[in-house]
Amino acid sequence: MIQTELSPKKKRKVASLEEQLKTDFVTLSSHQLRTPLSAVKWFSEILISQKRGKLNRKQLDYLKEVHRSNERAIALVNDLLQVSRVEKGKLHLDLVRLDIAELFEEVINTNKLTLSANKMTYHFEIVNGPLPALEVDKAKVKRVMQNLFLNAIKYSPNGGHIDVVVKRTQKEVVCSISDSGLGIPIDQQDGIFQKFYRGGNAAKVQPDGTGLGLFIAKSFVEAHKGKIWFESEEGRGTSFYFSLPIKAK
């Protein structure tokens, strides 16, 4: 059990707020963690801006490291909160009808600078179009796409190509993201969607990853009654697939 250092008065307040706000202990703990992380984030931003005084090169670099590490801590707390919601069955879907291909193009556009910096090309294709509008939680599906697309970039440290295909079948739309990167060694494939799982290649290309991205992606896809799976060959690359059902209007 996590012990928080709260005064008795604040403990009573938190307990009554928990009832009032219908939050659980994990959510409130995340709040307690996020508060000092926000303070570090904001004061380091104020200093990095140098509006309060000029910094020398080393001071600026070190402060940027502080800010970067803090952002990773914030991302971890956010991911842990998501995982907690998944495990408590509190994952809520804010459903809207949208064009899944357009959403994917949005994600690709957001990553164009990263693609270029990593000397990578991409190809986007729709198969068996036109695609029907799908009823999805936009933020969650976008997160899945972003996670898989960024992984394709990260696991291609020598550059390469990413193929994104959005394909309509009779009952679902299947999205695939294929890279020509490191691939996943066969003895490391079983645990890919588990919490905190990080294979050997993960440590090489993303030493600061949380190991929660694919667990969260799988939870989000399955919350939509979809499926997520992959094919991979070490040294040749990986293809991740996820499907989303087509619902009748």
Binding site: L21, K22, H31, S38, A39, I46, H92
Partner: protein, 123 residues
Amino acid sequence: MRSILIIEDDPTIQKALSEVMLSEGYKVYTSFEADGGLEKVANNKPDLILLDLILPGKSGFEFLKEIKNSPSTSSIPVVILSNLGDEDEVRQGLKLGAVDFLVKADYDLNEVVKIIKKYFPKK
């Protein structure tokens, strides 16, 4: 000069927000808790309120209800700036009349400054 009331119980967070808002040219009022905040609203009629949710005494939601139920203060835009951020909390905040709900840890200070600008009443 536009004015902002910051209701935030963490002194470090309150200091960071005040600093930045002052440097943006706003007049800044602050309170560590809701009842003090209500007093500042009554005395100063700020143009916008930045509101934390978990506060000693009354919660931010209770503060928001009171502000929105009073004709003299109901039109003041309130932006919730909290490190809670569950969908239920966001929905509740917006339902009670907040114009936006930002999770502190997810926004740079520059982003907060940019977002609140659009909520000031047109003069």
